[in-house]
């Protein structure tokens, strides 16, 4: 799977949880999931589980804690698929 495809799928999964919908129009690898998209921190678990389902991978709690940006998520997933 190409990096762009991984990136787009991640953004698609996070989209419904984002309170700042406008921020979804200008997503970069540096976009911070909690701050830029205004995702409630309690929703991060839902997002991690959705990523696991989408890419058929397992993300440990330690790995999940290191995900702050879209780039973090893309790199982690890219290395697992």
């Amino acid at each position: 799977m190409q990096e762009k495809e991984v990136f787009d799928k991640i953004v698609g999964i996070i989209g419904p949880f984002a309170k700042n919908k406008e921020s979804l129009n200008n997503v970069t690898n540096d976009s911070n999931i909690l701050k830029d998209f205004e995702v409630n921190s309690s929703r991060l678990v839902d997002i991690i589980l959705a990523l696991e389902d989408e890419f058929d991978i397992e993300i440990s709690d330690e790995e999940a804690e290191k995900i702050e940006t879209i780039g973090d998520a893309t790199n982690l997933i890219k290395n697992k698929i």
Partner: protein, 157 residues
């Protein structure tokens, strides 16, 4: 079958249920769980009888008491998030005074609950991970009809 493996769900003991009921922090007049009828790693079934003199009936509504939707949600949360959460922590060997705080829900209401009805709450775990418990929940009237159902989550704080 010779090689068949039987996987049985370990249900909570009566002693564990007693401990959980003691650990649930919500108390009168904001306690809506009396009995835990079934409990294991994946589900809980509890009951509660709304008293005639619950504080909210006086205003909701004067002369026509109906259990508020928010109280029905709280009743489901005390079973499906708080009690089930305490049990899951116990099973992981974690002794904690952390509170399970409500984080989100999507609930649909279909029937009213009147004073003095004995309701049951059934909740089934969807996941319990990184301190977040998400469960499918439903609350049934005394006659067995569903009054509300949906999905809710809580986070350990």
């Amino acid at each position: 079958m010779e090689n068949e493996v039987t996987v049985s769900k370990m249900a909570a003991t009566q002693e564990e249920i007693k401990q959980i009921l003691e650990k649930i922090p919500q108390q009168k007049p904001f306690r809506f769980i009396e009995k835990i009828l079934e409990l294991d790693d994946n589900h809980i079934l509890s009951s509660y009888r709304y008293k005639k003199d619950e504080y909210f009936y006086e205003g909701h509504f004067p002369g026509n008491p109906v259990t508020p939707g928010v109280i029905m949600i709280e009743t489901m949360a005390q079973a499906g998030l708080v009690a089930l959460g305490i049990y899951l922590l116990m099973k992981e060997g974690i002794v904690s005074d952390a509170l399970m705080l409500f984080s989100d829900c999507e609930i649909e209401f279909s029937n009213m609950i009147k004073p003095e009805e004995q309701i049951t709450v059934y909740a089934e775990k969807i996941f319990f991970r990184r301190g977040k418990l998400k469960a499918k929940v439903e609350i049934r009237k005394e006659n067995g009809v569903i009054a509300a159902e949906g999905v809710m989550s809580g986070v350990l704080q």
